[in-house]
Structures are given as structure tokens and as C-alpha cells.
């Protein structure tokens, strides 16, 4: 008798669950400020980059934001960025400056009780922004150009000592700078990582 009863309960449960499921499939969140709709599927692109530290496990305790030095500079707190990803408002965060305000100090990753990595999610958003050609800070583009050109992020800089002498690397009794053996194949490989044929 009790088995039958629990069976019927679970049937009802399944029915309710299915109703919720069908509602949630057609349900779309709308940002009332911008009238923009969320796109659930777009969050998958973040997940494919962050690996197993899933934004979906976040229960919004905001411990990440409480230790974040960028909180003073951010319009959104790290837990809110994670929330935006969960809700599918990806385009909004990607086109906003906030994803470029993380210093990648990784306190949020260290302290998250749910093994979510807000900083990694932010890096994933930056990757998507870069891929889509949404504004990437000029400094990053310059770094990529320099790596293509020389293998290093910047050219060899002259420096000034405290007593006002100017030195370049060769003045300082240091070994010659390392050179890449085959620049052509290095560039070919780099281009391949970016999905471009050289």
C-alpha cells in the first residue's frame, strides 16, 4: 500500500517537474533596464573555457566580492558577474568594462566555498570578447603583436639607474637575449592557436 502511494506521489512529482521543465524552457529573463533577453545557450561557451569550476554551483554568498580589491573599481562584484553568466546575460558583461578590471589576484578562486572560480570565469569572458572582436584593451593587442614579432611581450627597454645613468641590456654584463630558433614555424604555430591559417 505504502509502495503504491509513494509510487503515485512520485508520478505526481514527475508531472509537476515536467511542467516546470517545459515552463523553464520557454521562460526568458528580460533585463527591464535594457529590454534585452537572456540567452541560456551562450553560457555554454564560458563553461567550455572554465572547465570544472562551474559558475552554476555558485549560491551567491559573495565571499569572493568581500575580498576583492577591485570591488572599489568594479561596477559589478565578482559574484554578480558569475550571476550574469548563470542567467545568460553574456553579451552584456562582455561588452562592459567590468571584465577588464580584474587584477587576477585569485583570492576569489582560493576562497570560494563552492569551487567556483570567478576570476577564471572572467578570463573566459575576456576570451569570448576577444574572439568576437568586442573591445579588447589596446595593451593586450600590443602584447599579442609583440609575441608574434619577437616571442616576448615587449621590446628590450632602456632603464635609468638611481644616479641617472641610462642602461640598455647589452651594457649590463648579461648574456645575449634568447632568440627563437625558427621564427616562421613559431608564427605558424601561434596563428594556428588563434584559429588562423598563416
Amino acid at each position: 500500500m505504502s509502495i503504491e502511494a509513494s509510487g503515485s506521489y512520485s508520478l505526481i512529482g514527475r508531472f509537476i517537474y515536467c511542467c516546470f521543465l517545459s515552463v523553464s524552457i520557454v521562460m526568458v529573463l528580460i533585463d527591464l533596464m535594457t529590454s534585452k533577453e537572456s540567452r541560456w545557450s551562450s553560457s555554454k561557451s564560458v563553461l567550455s573555457i572554465v572547465g570544472d569550476q562551474k559558475p552554476y554551483s555558485c549560491y551567491q554568498c559573495s565571499k569572493c566580492s568581500s575580498g576583492c580589491l577591485s570591488a572599489e573599481l568594479l561596477e559589478l562584484m565578482p559574484h554578480q558577474v558569475v550571476s550574469m553568466i548563470k542567467l545568460g546575460f553574456l553579451d552584456e558583461v562582455i561588452s562592459s568594462d567590468i571584465i577588464w578590471l580584474c587584477a587576477y589576484c585569485l583570492k576569489c578562486v582560493e576562497r570560494c566555498p563552492q569551487n567556483v572560480a570567478p576570476a577564471e570565469a572572467i578570463l573566459a569572458l575576456r576570451n569570448i570578447a576577444f574572439e568576437k572582436g568586442v573591445k579588447t584593451p589596446e595593451g593586450y593587442r600590443l602584447i599579442l603583436e609583440n609575441v608574434f614579432e619577437t616571442g616576448w611581450i615587449q621590446s628590450f627597454q632602456p632603464v635609468i639607474s638611481r644616479d641617472g645613468e641610462i642602461y640598455v641590456r647589452d651594457d649590463l654584463d648579461l648574456p645575449k637575449k634568447p632568440e627563437i630558433s625558427n621564427m616562421d614555424s613559431f608564427r605558424e604555430a601561434l596563428a594556428k592557436t588563434l584559429g588562423e591559417e598563416s
Binding site: 609575441v147 611581450i153 634568447p178
Partner: protein, 294 residues
């Protein structure tokens, strides 16, 4: 005991933080640590994490593959390079599909990544391999009376699932290394905070604001100087100190010195031998406080 490492200085040291490289090349051999220069190396990929995950992984694996070909473990001087390599190693170990993809790209240059070479940061080499006792034996001048703020830097501590140099919330290895020179190195509340170097590319003003928080706190707590182990932290606290003072109307005059420079001085090397003339912060103040007659 002889230790041999493939030497990976990284972009920032090779192209502007020359003092760190000068000091490392002059001091480490005196502690029987042999540095082998690696040909063909390139950027560790860390800044590329923000643009393309595959490009970052390729660059990190590329340098590791070069070390493997030479049969060497790697010593990094830079925290960011250390994190980049450690993170890539973990990822390539766990995701064989990714490993295959990266190796197929590496094959263009005739390279292959297997994960054989270990990666260490200078702090690990000094603390774990050379050892505090041996450093104590080697010093000629005691830095007694100096109170120094040990600033380990984010990427040697976090995330502890990837980098395992020290306790992520209560680091002490750098403190012990400083104390081996007879200087004191008490803990302070801001020692885990970020220097802001990661913001220099996307938001320079924000980066300076981070660094000023750190500088003000250490200065106001009466430290004689800051001891760094990362070229990015050093660049922010040492190289940008004047700019921070000017921009924010501060009057912080705080010597900032690499640990390896400090160690070299204590071992009897000259200011030029450890590249101290290249530090931008008032390091003469620090040097003047030590009794150099033993």
C-alpha cells in the same frame, strides 16, 4: 650538493627588470645552484590567458617542452610565469584531448610536451632545496636591526589547488628566508593583498591605486623596506613608487628590494653585483642602515 636548473627569467625580467637577473646570475652559483640558459624560449603565455586559452597553453607548453628536451627542471624568477606553467601542467595532465591538440601544434616546431620537467620558483629553490640553514652559513654580514616586509605575491600562493609553494592564507617561507639574514620579518595585515600589476594593461590607474594601498600600509607600519620575489610586484612598488607619490600626493619613501639582491649583499657582493643601482626606490637608505663591517 649541486643543483642544476634550466633558467627561465620571463619577459618582464629579460626586457626591463634587469636587476633581478643580474642578482640571480651572480648569487645562485655561490649557493651551488647552476643555471643553464635555455635557447629558443619565449613568453610564458600568462598575459595571453586574457585573449585566447589555446595560445596561452601553447606558449606555456612550448617552454616546458624546450626544458624537457634539455632534460632540465625549470626555475622561474617571476610569479606570473610560475603560475602560467603550473596551471598549464595541471590542465595538460588532466585533459588528454587538450594535450593532444597542443602537441599537434607544437609539432610544427618539432617540439613535444610530456610533462617530465618540474617547475620551481626561486623561493622554493632557496627555501626547500638550498635551505635556510645553508643560507645562514653563507652570509658574511648580518642585517640585524632591519625590519622588512616580506611580500610573496599572489601567484606563489593562489590558487592552492595549482601552486603549492606556501600556505595560501599564512605564508612564511619568504619570512624565514629574510630572517636567515638576521633581519626581522613580522607578518602584517596587507601581506596577502595584490600589487595591482595585473591591471597595468587594462586599467593602469586602478593598478596604481592597488600598489599605493600596499605602499602606504607598509610605510605607515614602520618597515624599513619591502622584500619582493616577483618582477611584477617589484615594478609596481619600486618602479612606480615615484609616479604613485606624484599622482596621489603621497610622500612614501620606501626601499623595495628583491630578496636575491638582499641575500647577495649579505653574502658580501657589491651594490653593482646585485644590480641595486637599478632599483628606483631609495635603497641607499636601506644599505645605510646595515653595519657592513661584520
Amino acid at each position: 650538493m649541486h643543483l642544476t636548473y634550466g633558467f627561465y627569467p620571463g619577459c618582464v625580467i629579460l626586457t626591463e627588470q634587469y636587476a633581478y637577473e643580474i642578482a640571480a646570475r651572480n648569487v645562485l652559483p655561490l649557493l651551488d645552484v647552476k643555471l643553464v640558459d635555455l635557447n629558443n624560449i619565449s613568453c610564458c603565455g600568462e598575459p595571453l590567458m586574457s585573449m585566447n586559452k589555446t595560445t596561452w597553453l601553447y606558449l606555456a607548453a612550448r617552454n616546458m617542452a624546450i626544458a624537457e628536451r634539455n632534460g632540465l627542471d625549470v626555475v622561474c624568477l617571476c610569479n606570473a610565469c610560475y603560475l602560467s606553467f603550473s596551471k598549464a601542467k595541471k590542465l595538460l595532465k588532466e585533459d588528454l584531448g587538450l594535450l593532444e591538440k597542443i602537441n599537434s601544434i607544437l609539432s610544427i616546431e618539432g617540439l613535444k610536451y610530456t610533462g617530465e620537467s618540474r617547475v620551481k620558483h626561486l623561493v622554493e629553490v632557496l627555501h626547500d632545496d638550498v635551505g635556510v640553514d645553508r643560507i645562514r652559513e653563507k652570509i658574511r654580514f648580518k642585517l640585524a636591526g632591519l625590519k622588512l616586509a616580506s611580500y610573496t605575491g599572489c601567484h606563489l600562493l593562489r590558487p592552492s589547488s595549482i601552486v603549492k609553494v606556501d600556505d595560501p592564507e599564512n605564508p612564511s617561507k619568504l619570512n624565514r628566508l629574510v630572517e636567515a639574514l638576521e633581519a626581522s620579518s613580522p607578518h602584517y595585515p596587507e601581506e596577502l593583498e595584490c600589487c595591482g600589476a595585473g591591471l597595468l594593461i587594462p586599467k593602469p590607474d586602478g593598478g596604481l591605486s592597488y600598489a599605493s594601498t600596499q605602499l602606504k600600509a607598509v610605510f605607515n607600519r614602520g618597515f624599513d623596506g619591502v622584500v619582493t620575489v616577483c618582477p611584477a610586484c617589484h615594478k609596481m612598488l619600486d618602479g612606480k613608487q615615484a609616479a604613485i607619490n606624484q599622482t596621489l600626493g603621497l610622500n612614501v619613501e620606501l626601499p623595495v628590494i628583491y630578496y636575491i639582491q638582499l641575500l647577495g649583499l649579505a653574502m658580501g657582493l657589491s651594490v653593482r653585483d646585485v644590480g641595486l643601482h637599478l632599483n628606483q626606490s631609495p635603497c641607499d637608505k636601506l644599505v645605510a642602515k646595515v653595519r657592513w663591517n661584520g
